[in-house]
């Protein structure tokens, strides 16, 4: 999967705040939300942003903390917008 790390090795709260502060189109999803064949881990409600055709989302790694990733959105952008 192609992705860009926008914020590395941070706490979940720092990642959630980064997304809420830096993007306008934001959707809040529950923990365990399935996106890109991955089930999101985090403190709900979990913010996911849409920027052009990209998804901006937090991603928790057990050993490395939380990251904010920018990933080409494909059909996930449509799924988020439709669910609103």
């Amino acid at each position: 999967m192609n992705y860009e790390i926008l914020l590395p090795n941070s706490s979940f709260k720092e990642c959630a705040d980064y997304i809420k502060k830096n993007f306008k189109e934001i959707y809040f999803v529950p923990a365990g939300y399935k996106i890109f064949d991955n089930y999101l881990v985090g403190v709900p409600p979990i913010p996911i942003a849409v920027d052009n055709d990209d998804i901006i989302m937090p991603y928790v790694k057990p050993c490395h903390g939380c990251f904010v990733l920018r990933i080409p959105g494909k059909e996930e952008v449509g799924v988020l917008r439709k669910a609103k």
Binding site: S11, F12, K13, P30, A31, G32, Y33, K34, N38, Y39, L40, V41, G42, V43, P44, V60, K61, P62, C63, H64, G65, C66
Partner: protein, 150 residues
Amino acid sequence: MKALFMMGCPELPVQTAAALYIANKLNKEGFEVTSAGNKAAISLLLNSDPEKHYIKKVMDLDRCIGALAEKTIDFDLCFVFIHSDSGISYLATIKSISKAKTIAVIFGKEIEPLIEASGDSIIIAAKAVHNPTPLRAQIDGVKSWAALTR
């Protein structure tokens, strides 16, 4: 009765010791214990308990989250092993996607913020990195885990 261990990065040595110690107590009360973790955490458990006397099943962490989210599995108790912010994220996730009663097993050097962030979970916490004795003392303070399922 079924119990789940959610195990994160095993960089602190007490994690594996605490997990096996709790699993022994759970087994005596009739629980079947499944452990979910990353490769390193699971490898440490399986090398410490090669005949699976204590841990009956193991699962990949991401697959376990997926199965809980899809409601194909669930547990009566879930012990989330926490020594960093990532552990708090896993605890919050389990509370959202599982009906299990959650127990936050907190260890490391700076446990106070983790205790504060654990909300209404049952908390077993001690400052412990290499020596599991302080954590074991907290675990021993619980007389019956089965009672939590009633």
